[in-house]
Amino acid sequence: MQASARHQRHRLATIVGLLPLIIFLALLLYVGLNAPNFLTVVNLKLVLTQSLTVVLSVIGLSAVVMAGGDDVVSGGIDLSIPATAVLCAGIVAVMTSAGQPVILAAGAALVASMLVGVVNAVLITRLRMAPLLATLAMFVAVVGITNVITERKRLNLNADSIAALRGDIVPGIPLGILLVAILSLLAWFFLHRSKWGLNLQAAGGSRDAAEISGIRVDRLVAQSYLLAAFMGFVTGFFMLARANGYSPGAQDNLMLEMVLATFLGAAFSPRRIVTVWGAILGAVLVAAISIGLKTIGVNVFWTDLIKGALIVIVVALSAISQRVQ
């Protein structure tokens, strides 16, 4: 009898754990029924295109969370990724506007981005600063530097190679989506199917266990911040492509969506942990909801409210499902 009670609880926990996904799908279905052209290929392309910057950032963020542990305050988190992205976008926009070749601009942006990653890694693994605090402060500093570089001005894109990210490579499939898909697969492979990735997860899951097994935790944690900075760098180009130039202020919304998508993703994963594919799925779903709500004519100001409520619901359900179990 006890065993069956436990079994029932387990099933209940599974159902509660699946609720976030069910809520999302229900919401999408509702949108689809009210706006028949929402669930079409064209719209799917729009959703994916919309989600690219978030997908790229969450790859970086999920690596950091996997290496540092999923406690938001004391574990791993990198809020500076969106700032790195605007820094990269700003540098590239300013330099190409000044007539420099794209490749040189990209090189400069890469150096700057990796510098952000190095500072994060040093603050966190050497000085043992709480990642939340360190990366939040870096967010402020990097955005400040970006504003100096760009003088907070809108800059139009002056490089066809970046704009090409929006264009189709084969009919129907834009180059950007293809590239991000490849990057996602690579990230999934390295973070979930390689020795390095498994060690990274071990480091975040139990620092002591990893150290006893001879895993060099600090080095892995530092590498995760470098990876995050690199993903910020890549995100910068997709920002430029999407807005057809640099426009100030893109970082705030990206930060919130990135955190939402990553922790939403944890609710989707069977082990209830942050995973790359979960985070990517979260990013796509968030974009789908945003576009879907717009399609059925919901006031744009309400969209944020719904997103905020979604964070709360998803995280609460995840907490409840753990308690039931």
């Binding site: 605090l133 967010f139 003088e151 919130l256 100001f301 409210l305 709360v312 995280v315």
Partner: protein, 328 residues
């Protein structure tokens, strides 16, 4: 006694450990003073304090939440709500300044109640719960103001304007309000029975529960108390510019967090504490003011203060690390 027996008690390392942050504070002070003598004039120093008044108040609320072991990303929302409720109460409902101020504080407390419901009721981690509150609160403001336009009220009663613009014996009211709150917070958090319970809960929740402390009740009170405090900041902000500007509270969030953590690093045992927070806020205020007096361009000033923020935090943390490595 041991300290004196120890021969190298004045080694550079120990000096840095004990006074590192003070030295940096002094160095910045001297630098700004050398750059522009106006910096050290009494009026300018008062300006620094006056300019920091709202941040002091927000940072006090943040100190309380960090002491519970959490973090509050929605302090700005509480500030906005405080301002919005008070301005609307006066403008649309013709309330007097005092009842309107009370309505403002009540409005701010809604934010704390929502946080408390999420954290205590649904057991969401404070970071994610207050992030959710932030989203929801921001969006409510946008909906209410149809996109974020300010609600201005030029003819606000003098009593309300005096919250920010009045003075007592030449000291601006907002400074007096901030000072009173600092004293209250110091007594409550550092000296009172209740504050000791807050610290115990923040450091080791399960041990606090076994010791018979009503942690949920305390946590709810902390969130509400902190949000009302932030709403006081909102009243001052609204009185200063005679309007409610939606989403203006967000600007204080990062500085408030930074001030609390600088303050915690200054504490011998690394606890978040009121006087440390005050030191952190004044440091940030001094840097802003000094950079202004240097006549730098707005963007450059912003970038510099961001970089100084990172460095100050790094230094504060390094100082705490060295201290704990030496066993207090």
């Amino acid at each position: 006694m041991d300290t004196f027996a120890n021969k190298n008690w004045l080694s550079p390392r120990k000096i840095l450990m004990r006074f590192g942050f003070l030295i940096v504070f002094a160095a910045f002070f001297l630098f700004f003073a050398a750059w522009n003598p106006v910096f050290v004039q009494g009026q300018n120093l008062l300006n620094i304090v006056e300019g920091s008044a709202i941040l002091i108040i927000i940072a006090l609320g943040m100190t309380l939440i960090v002491a519970t072991g959490g973090i509050d990303l929605s302090v700005g929302i509480a500030l906005d709500f405080g301002a919005a409720f008070a301005v609307v109460a006066m403008k649309s409902y013709g309330m007097g300044w005092f009842p309107a101020a009370c309505v403002g504080l009540l409005g701010g407390s809604l934010v704390g109640l929502l946080n408390a419901a999420l954290v205590v009721g649904l057991r969401i981690s404070p970071f994610l719960a207050t992030l959710g509150t932030f989203f929801i609160g921001s969006s409510v403001q946008r909906i209410f103001t149809h996109g974020g336009g300010p609600i201005s009220y030029r003819q606000m009663p003098d009593g309300f304007r005096n919250i920010a613009q009045g003075n007592l014996f030449g000291i601006p009211t907002e400074v007096i309000i901030a000072a009173v709150l600092v004293v209250i917070y110091y007594l409550v958090l550092e000296r009172s029975v209740w504050g000791r319970r807050v610290h115990a809960m923040g450091m080791q929740r399960s041990a606090a529960i076994v010791a018979g402390i009503r942690v949920n009740r305390i946590l709810i009170a902390c969130f509400v108390f902190a949000s009302i405090t932030c709403a006081v900041g909102g009243l001052i902000a609204a009185a200063n510019i005679r309007m409610f500007t939606p989403l203006s509270g967000f600007a204080y969030l990062l500085d408030a967090i930074a001030a609390v953590f600088i303050g915690a690093a200054l504490h011998p045992r690394g606890r978040p504490n009121v006087l440390g927070t005050l030191a952190g806020v004044l440091f940030l205020g001094m840097v802003t003011n000094g950079l202004n007096l240097m006549g730098l361009n707005f963007n450059t000033k912003d970038a510099l203060s961001g970089i100084i923020l990172v460095s100050a935090l790094a230094l504060a943390v390094a100082q705490r690390n060295m201290r704990s490595a030496d066993g207090d």
